[in-house]
Amino acid sequence: MASIDSGGGDSGHKKGPGVKKAKKLSTRVDMTPMVDLGFLLITFFIFTATMSSPKAMDLRMPKDVDDPKKQNEAKESGALTIMLGKGNQVYYYEGQLKVDVGVNNFKQTTFKGIREIIINKRKEVMARHVHDLGSPESVCKEMQERAKKNENPDWETACLDRDFVVIIKPDVDATYKNTVDILDEMTINGVKTYAMVKILPQEYELIQATENSNK
């Protein structure tokens, strides 16, 4: 098998008479055990190797504020509330929750469907946006300047979605995976403003009612 051939043949020069020929020991070493061990180690390391190293995802939470006057308010026109329920179900409504007969904006979807809803809502909010570049305290101008500084090629549209806010409300049956998935969905769809809030009792009841009716 694998062995080093060090050319131990009789290619040396002729010695004169009387010179005793030293007995040549073969330099061929049997490498088979070494190679065996080598392969054993390869298999071991292949099996133990952890190729994908864990990654970190940033999460920033706001400070709890009890005073309702100091709480941030989302514009109704640009708000999308997403609730996470049991069995990877997603519930959502746009703006204010309306559950009267005739006007019901409480809808159900899945994690696959929510992406399209986020994208559409974002587009809708962006289309409705009015630039306020003329006014002296223009928020848009500031946002555009910041985007320009960050070398963002789309700096002109940087403030279009500033009214778009997603409110995430996982309920007690939602899993941690659901929570990470929906936060990830925010990153994927470029949602700049989102918040994770405790679910309201009314919303939780609605989810439970929907779950019961789907059984």
Partner: protein, 222 residues
């Protein structure tokens, strides 16, 4: 009839290049392998598109397993004295009356998942056998007796005294329920900490999504 002599070919092939490559692969795997740090429980982290590397030093790791048990560990490779200081601080903060031997054992403990009342008996067990110790998890769900608050506040003080930045890692199992995660967050909030790192596995951004487009254009997201 003259018989046709087939030339005899040797079946001995030269295996040297083969063995060379094999050893090359071996050295690659030896270099690339990083052994998993010991875990108190098996955690299947969810996937995310985040590609940030995980800080492994100067951090506090809060683990939530699939049955909503919460574990706490201090990650400090460079300064081994920090875990000792954390347990000493906690001992004085909560008057736990731990012995010196028990506190010395904390350094080797991979993760703590017991209420303060049974912390002493956990630390009596040598670190190698703690895997068999039945750990019910740190109580967090009750807001009044959320013991994680004390663990965090003790580590926060110790890291501040050592002038080291402290990061908060939350490693949750995909199947754990949201209330446990919320309780962990609220314990951190009580300590005025608002920035955390969630441990996830990498997943590619879906093609055509806003993030995918931005990545291609080379936009800095942060």
């Amino acid at each position: 009839m003259p018989s046709v002599k087939m030339p005899r070919k040797s079946t001995d092939t030269d295996m040297t290049p083969f063995v060379d490559i094999a050893f090359l692969i071996l050295s690659f795997f030896i270099m690339a392998t990083k052994f998993k740090p010991p875990e108190p429980v098996q955690i299947n982290t969810p996937n995310s598109v985040s590609s940030q590397d995980l800080p492994e030093n100067d951090a506090v790791l809060i683990t939530i397993d699939s049955t909503n048990r919460v574990f706490f560990s201090v990650l400090s490779e460079k300064n081994k004295a920090i875990p000792d200081q954390v347990i000493q601080k906690l001992n004085t903060l909560r008057t736990l009356n731990l012995s010196t031997a028990q506190m010395a054992n904390f350094r080797k403990t991979v993760a703590v998942g017991v209420p303060f009342s049974s912390l002493g008996s956990l630390l009596d067990v040598p670190a190698e056998d703690q895997g068999k110790f039945n750990q019910p998890g740190i109580p967090v769900l009750d807001t009044l007796s959320n013991e994680l608050i004390w663990w965090i506040s003790a580590s926060k003080e110790v890291f501040r005294d050592n002038q080291r930045p402290l990061k908060y890692l939350i490693k949750g199992d995909g199947g754990s329920k949201y209330p446990a995660f919320e309780a962990v967050i609220s314990a951190l909030k009580k300590n005025d900490e608002f920035k955390y790192n969630l441990v996830t596995s990498l997943e590619n951004a879906p093609t055509g999504s806003a993030l995918d487009v931005a990545n291609r254009k080379g936009v800095k997201t942060k």
